[in-house]
C-alpha cells in the first residue's frame, strides 16, 4: 500500500505537533461586561484612491504601456463603455503588485514542495510580482521575434489579438510556467481592475459597475425591495462615495 504522505514526514510532523502542544500559551479568553471591547475608529480605513497624475509603483513605463495595451484588447472600448486601459486596469494591477498581493503574503510559500493538482490552486514559488516581471519580459521577447523587432503596442489590434491567442495556447514560456498561466493571470487581474472599487485604481468613474448595472457598496435595499421587475437605475456607490454626495 502506498501512502500519499511518506511515513517519515508524518512521524516528523506528529513529533513537531507534540512539541508545540507543550508550549501552547494559556488561553487568553476573558469575560467582558460593562463595556464593549471595541472602539469606533480602531479599524484601518481602505486605501485612498490613487492621486493624479499617477506615479507607477511597480511597473516601468514600458511595462505599464504594455499592460495598458493588453487590458485594452481584453476589454476593448466599444459603444457600451470605455476600455480596460482608460478604466485604469494597469494602475490597479500596478498597485496590487507593489503591495501584499504582489509579494504573495497570503500564500503559503514554505516546503514541502510537490507538484499540486489544478484544484489546489496556484502551485508555484514565484510571487505574482515576479511572474509579471518575467512574463512581460518574455512577451516582449516573443513579440519582437515574431514581428521583426516591433513592440506589442505598435502592432495592429488584429496582430495583438493573434499574439494573445498564441500566448493563451502556451506558445512560449514565461519564467518557469507556460505562457497560458500568465495569460490567465492577466485576464483575471484585468477583470478585477475593471470591476473593483475605484479606490483601488481601476473601474474609473465606476464605468464597470455602470456597464453591469451593479449599484455598488450600498448597505440597504429595503426601500426598493418591493419594486420587482422594474429598472431601478441606482447610481453606483464607491466606498468613497459618488458624485451625488457633493453639494452642487
Amino acid at each position: 500500500m502506498t501512502s500519499p504522505i511518506p511515513r517519515r514526514d508524518l512521524l516528523g510532523t506528529a513529533a513537531a505537533l507534540v512539541g508545540t502542544a507543550a508550549t501552547l500559551p494559556v488561553s487568553e479568553a476573558a469575560e467582558i461586561s460593562g463595556h464593549l471591547p471595541w472602539s469606533a475608529s480602531a479599524g484601518t480605513p481602505p486605501p485612498a484612491a490613487p492621486a493624479e497624475p499617477y506615479v507607477w509603483e511597480f511597473f516601468t513605463a514600458d511595462e505599464a504601456a504594455l499592460v495598458g495595451a493588453i487590458a485594452d484588447r481584453i476589454i476593448p472600448a466599444d459603444e457600451l463603455s470605455i476600455g480596460g486601459k482608460e478604466a485604469g486596469c494597469a494602475v490597479f494591477i500596478d498597485k496590487q503588485l507593489a503591495g501584499q498581493y504582489g509579494q504573495g503574503t497570503n500564500y503559503y510559500l514554505k516546503g514541502p514542495y510537490r507538484p499540486g493538482t489544478p484544484q489546489q490552486g496556484p502551485q508555484t514559488l514565484e510571487t505574482f510580482a515576479q511572474r509579471y516581471r518575467q512574463g512581460l519580459a518574455a512577451m516582449v521577447a516573443y513579440c519582437a521575434s515574431k514581428h521583426s523587432g516591433k513592440a506589442f503596442i505598435a502592432l495592429s489590434a488584429d496582430d495583438q489579438d493573434a499574439l494573445l491567442h498564441e500566448m493563451e495556447g502556451g506558445a512560449f514560456y514565461t519564467g518557469p510556467v507556460p505562457s497560458s498561466v500568465f495569460f490567465n493571470q492577466l485576464i483575471q487581474n484585468v477583470r478585477e481592475g475593471y470591476f473593483a472599487d475605484p479606490i483601488y485604481g481601476g473601474n474609473k468613474d465606476m464605468a464597470g459597475w455602470k456597464l453591469l448595472g451593479f449599484p455598488g457598496a450600498r448597505y440597504d435595499y429595503r426601500d426598493v425591495i418591493g419594486r420587482r421587475g422594474e429598472k431601478l437605475d441606482l447610481e453606483p456607490v464607491s466606498l468613497m462615495g459618488r458624485p451625488g454626495w457633493n453639494p452642487a
Binding site: 475608529s41 440597504d220 453639494p247
Partner: protein
C-alpha cells in the same frame, strides 16, 4: 493736584489693606472651619444605612469624576478641564493620608454643602457642591458611611492644576458670594406639588446634579440665572435642553420615555452616548424606577425654554439634495430611510430634539468619530456607530447634518463645512482619505 507720590501712597495703602483683609479672611476661615467640623461621637452606621449610602453615591455619580481612567474606583485623579484650567478630582477612599479617611461626617457634609474642604480649603465648583447643597444631611451621612466601607487606596492627587490667578482658592469665596451663597441651601419641599414631584426635584437638583452639564453657564462658569437646564456646550459636547420645549427639549418625550432612557441607556427615539452614556452606565441605570419616574415628572414640569419658530431649509437646497444622497447610502441601513431608527439601538430622527439642538456638535462629532450607546444591565451590548471621518468630507458631513436637521418635521439652522472642519480638528478625527 495729584502727585505721583500721593498716587503711590494710595496704592500702597490699598495693598496693605488688601493683604490685611485677605489674611484676616484666611485666619477667620481656619477658625470657623475648626468650629464647623467639631463633632461629638457619632453612632456606628447600620448595614441599612451603608446600603442606602451606596445607592445615593451611585445617584450622585461620584465615581465618574473621582476615578482616573483605569484607576481604582473613588481613588481620584481624573483631570477635569474646567475652561479655566485643570482640576483633578480628589481621592475619596477612606485612606487616611491621601483620601478622606480622617474626615468626620460633619467635615464631609461641609464639603458637599458649602464647597469647603480640608482645613477650610475652598473647593472649585467643578465639584458640584452648588447642586449637592440641596442634599439632606441624612443622605450625606449615609454616603459618608458607605465611602468609609471602601478599600482605602493610597493615591495622592494634586488637585489644583489651575494657572494663576485661578489657582488661588480663596477667590472662590468671592465666586460663592456672587453665584452660590444666596441660593445654595438644602432642598425645601414645595407644598403645592406632589411628593413624587418633590422627590424628582430633590434628585434632579441635588445628587443627580443635572444642571452641572445641562444649564447654560456665564463667563465665570456659573449657572446663568433663568437658564436652568436650557442646554450648554460641555468640553465639545452639547448637553441638550431638558425643559419642556417640544422642538429641542423633552417636551415631546413621555415620562416613560425618560424613565426608559435613564434606566436602559436608550428608548424608542434616542440613545445615550458620549458623557451621557457614562452618566447612565455609572449612575441613572442603578436608580429605582419610582425614583426615575419622579425625576421624569419633575423634568416634564420645567417650563419650556424660549424658542422662535424656524423655517426648514427647503428640500431643493443643494446641501439637502446631497445630504439626502449621503443619508440614503450611508445612514439608512440602521437609521432607516424614513428615519424611524431601530428602537434601543439606532436613534430615530423624526421630530428629534437632539437633531434640532441649538448646537449641532454632537451629530457632527458622532458622524466623524462614531460612538457607543450606553452599556447597561438591561442593554448589555450597547450598539455602536461607525466613524465616517475617513470617508466623508467636511462639506458632505455639513450637508447630511443639514439634511437631518431639516427633514421629517425637523427645522434647524444649516451646518457649514467650517463647523465640521473645526470639530474634526478639536476631537482629533482623521482626515478624509
Amino acid at each position: 493736584m495729584f502727585t505721583f507720590r500721593r498716587i503711590a501712597l494710595l496704592v500702597i495703602a490699598l495693598a496693605v489693606l488688601g493683604c490685611l483683609g485677605a489674611g484676616g479672611l484666611y485666619a477667620f476661615n481656619r477658625v470657623t472651619y475648626a468650629n464647623q467640623i467639631a463633632e461629638t461621637t457619632v453612632p456606628a452606621p447600620t448595614a441599612d444605612q451603608i446600603k442606602r449610602g451606596h445607592y445615593l453615591a451611585l445617584a450622585g455619580d461620584c465615581v465618574a469624576c473621582h476615578t482616573a481612567p483605569g484607576g481604582a474606583p473613588y481613588a481620584g485623579g481624573l483631570q477635569l478641564n474646567t475652561g479655566f484650567g485643570i482640576v483633578a478630582a480628589s481621592n475619596i477612599t477612606p485612606d487616611r493620608d491621601t483620601g478622606i479617611g480622617g474626615w468626620t461626617t460633619k467635615q464631609f457634609i461641609l464639603a458637599m454643602h458649602r464647597g469647603i474642604g480640608d482645613h477650610g480649603k475652598r473647593l472649585y465648583p467643578a465639584m458640584p457642591y452648588t447642586a449637592y447643597a440641596k442634599v439632606s444631611d441624612a443622605d450625606l451621612t449615609d454616603i459618608k458611611a458607605y465611602l468609609d466601607t471602601l478599600p482605602p487606596v493610597n493615591h495622592a492627587v494634586i488637585a489644583n492644576q489651575m494657572p494663576f490667578p485661578f489657582n488661588i482658592r480663596l477667590m472662590m469665596i468671592g465666586w460663592n458670594m456672587l453665584f452660590f451663597d444666596f441660593g445654595g441651601a438644602e432642598y425645601k419641599a414645595d407644598p403645592t406639588q406632589t411628593a413624587e414631584w418633590n422627590r424628582g426635584a430633590y434628585l434632579v437638583q441635588g445628587l443627580e446634579h443635572c444642571s452641572t452639564c445641562h444649564t447654560t453657564k456665564n463667563f465665570l462658569g456659573a449657572d446663568e440665572a433663568g437658564k436652568f437646564l436650557h442646554g450648554t456646550d460641555l468640553d465639545g459636547w452639547w448637553a441638550p435642553d431638558l425643559t419642556s420645549n417640544t422642538r429641542i427639549g423633552l417636551g415631546s418625550w413621555s415620562e416613560d420615555d425618560i424613565v426608559t432612557f435613564l434606566k436602559t441607556g436608550a428608548n424608542d427615539r434616542m440613545v445615550a452616548a458620549g458623557p451621557m452614556a457614562e452618566a447612565v452606565t455609572n449612575s441613572t441605570q442603578h436608580l429605582t424606577v419610582p425614583d426615575l419616574h419622579a425625576m421624569a415628572v419633575y423634568l416634564k414640569s420645567i417650563p419650556a425654554s424660549d424658542d422662535t419658530g424656524l423655517t426648514p431649509v427647503p428640500p431643493t437646497d443643494p446641501q439637502m439634495v446631497a445630504g439626502r444622497a449621503i443619508y440614503g447610502d450611508n445612514c439608512a441601513a440602521c437609521h432607516v430611510l424614513n428615519a424611524t431608527g431601530v428602537p434601543g439601538m439606532a436613534p430615530a430622527f423624526v421630530l428629534s430634539p437632539s437633531v434640532q439642538a441649538q448646537n449641532p456638535e454632537n451629530m457632527i462629532r458622532t458622524i466623524l468619530a462614531g460612538g457607543h450607546v450606553a452599556v447597561t444591565e438591561t442593554n448589555p451590548t450597547g450598539a455602536a456607530m461607525p466613524a465616517f471621518d475617513w470617508k466623508l468630507s467636511d462639506a458632505q458631513i455639513a450637508a447630511v447634518t443639514t439634511y437631518l436637521r431639516n427633514s421629517w418635521g425637523n427645522a434647524a439652522g444649516p451646518v457649514t463645512a467650517d463647523q465640521v472642519a473645526a470639530k474634526r480638528q478639536q476631537i482629533g478625527a482623521r482626515e478624509r482619505n
